[in-house]
């Protein structure tokens, strides 16, 4: 699923500055909804989106280590400017949606974006 479609489904705002043309170039294969970065680090898949309610810099560091393409903050949360700058520096797209985590994950799942299976 293209990141531009994810933005539309979640009615999300792009905090890292990319336009829709740039979002169309980022293809997301799986997603993960989680506030525990320790658990995210146990989740390894290419081309992933992380949805989370945590907004500290370690979310971006975790995404960087996992090669996560984009992070979507839920419940309208906005991280500090230095967190956004770190994400830009690492080429990680930052979205923010007003939706709560469960609902946002459900809407993406409903549209066909799956999480990791237990393989």
């Amino acid at each position: 699923m293209l990141l531009s479609d994810i933005k539309k489904i979640l009615d999300a705002e792009v905090l890292s500055g990319e336009d829709d043309a740039a979002l169309c170039k980022k293809d997301i294969h799986t997603a993960c909804g989680c506030d525990l970065m320790s658990d995210v680090l146990a989740f390894v898949k290419d081309q992933s989106l992380l949805l989370t309610g945590l907004i500290n810099s370690q979310v971006i560091r975790t995404a960087e280590m996992m090669d996560i393409v984009a992070v979507c903050f839920v419940r309208g949360k906005t991280p500090a400017e230095d967190v956004i700058e770190l994400a830009k520096d690492k080429d990680i797209t930052i979205l923010s949606t007003q939706l709560p985590l469960y609902t946002a994950c459900g809407m993406l799942y409903d549209e066909g974006l799956r999480g990791r299976s237990n393989d």
Binding site: L36, M37, S38, L41, A42, S57, T62, M65, D67
Partner: protein, 136 residues
């Protein structure tokens, strides 16, 4: 090639800088994506542990012809029960650390999972030295 990093125990927002820097080095050297990811995840977990449990320390990362070896040393309290620490879900992290998304008891099990070998030298009051080895 050897890279050395000081791991500050003062500012948690800086946690991951050493892992991030070493990841860039590995990518520049053309190391395979899968190896880079395994090293990055294991190193980042170890860096976080060095900060939240060891109060900071030092890291030495070496790229050898047949393996990547990363050693973290701290002068923290040491691990009282290594067997328990290796169990998924067991953690002695503070509530503050848990609020930051860590301390779920996945650190050492994750490190073991992503490395080919993991060596721990620790004892109460002695600090902890952790070496991660990923074969090339």
């Amino acid at each position: 090639m050897i890279k050395k990093y000081d791991i500050s125990g003062e500012d948690f927002s800086l946690a991951g800088e050493a892992s991030s820097n070493f990841k860039s080095v590995l990518k520049r050297l053309g190391i395979s994506t899968e190896i880079v990811r395994r090293v990055s995840i294991a190193m980042y977990e170890a860096e976080i542990n060095t900060i939240i449990h060891g109060g900071g320390g030092e890291c030495e990362a070496e790229i050898k012809s047949n393996a990547i070896s990363v050693t973290f040393r701290d002068n923290g309290p040491g691990i009282a029960n290594l067997e328990l620490a290796m169990q998924e879900g067991y953690s002695t992290a503070s509530e503050k650390i848990r609020e930051l998304g860590f301390g779920a008891g996945m650190g050492l099990p994750n490190i073991k999972k992503y490395t080919d070998d993991m060596l721990i030298d620790t004892a109460p009051g002695k600090g902890t030295t952790l070496t991660l080895i990923i074969n090339l």
